[in-house]
Subunit: 126 residues, 2 copies
DNA sequence: CAGAATCCTACCCGATACTG
DNA sequence: CAGTATCGGGTAGGATTCTG
């Protein structure tokens, strides 16, 4: 069962493993999930300044940085409208949406078992 | 559908949300998943030095630190056998095992769609 | 408006001793 | 064996200022 569970691990190359690992690490960092969530709630494109408002606590610099990374990873699309003043919109890709769905599943699992995520309780239960 | 997807978000308190977020961030950091995976493969308790060998590249200090965090989060159990020289064993809790199962699901999703995780391809597909 | 550039700080992590 | 203690480099992220 443990073997079956990790079967797919043996069928992937080291490079695939490393890329997946990197993606998870980047996506689970401080801000990316919040940004994806806000974009998902918006249910459509959002301007940079809207994101800056709605992702509470993020700085302009880090928002820019993180959006660039999300774009490189194929999770959001950046659209520049060449106007003065400039207008830039960000929206989820379908991949970004699907990934968020997966993460929400994990999220729900954690929230449901939140009482267990405590050392003493876990010790007693095992 | 987007609403249904995030229904549970509205039913949880801010504190629950924050705790879940923190747990994901900690678990998805550089080393924790590797450690959990190694413990899962071992299919039983492992001594500190075995972990140090099998979690390739980790330093002794960071392994200790990370194990402490995993223990606090209820994902591993630390058992000290008061001998000389001391012997300490770590093993997955059932919660740790379950969490790893969830993460592996996510992992598989990412590996399967790895070709999509690329900005240009995603842009063309959308 | 949407950023780029700069400065600064805190923290993570690795390497290296040392200890019960 | 399984740590703790200490030092140092690298980096993520915040605050601020400037610009097309």
């Amino acid at each position: 069962m443990n073997e079956a569970m990790f079967d797919f691990c043996t069928t992937m190359t080291d490079e695939e493993d490393q890329r997946a690992r990197d993606l998870i690490e980047r996506a689970a960092a401080k801000w990316p999930l919040r940004i994806l969530h806000v974009l998902s709630e918006a249910n459509g494109p959002l301007r940079f300044s809207r994101l800056l408002e709605r992702v509470e606590g993020i700085s302009q610099k880090v928002l820019t940085q993180t959006l660039r990374t999300l774009e490189k990873d194929g999770l959001v699309i950046r659209t520049l409208y060449p106007q003065v003043p400039p207008r830039v919109e960000y929206e989820l890709t379908s991949l970004g949406h699907d990934l968020l769905l997966q993460v929400v599943t994990l999220w729900r699992f954690i929230v449901e078992r939140l009482p267990d995520f405590d050392a003493d309780k876990a010790k007693r239960a095992s």
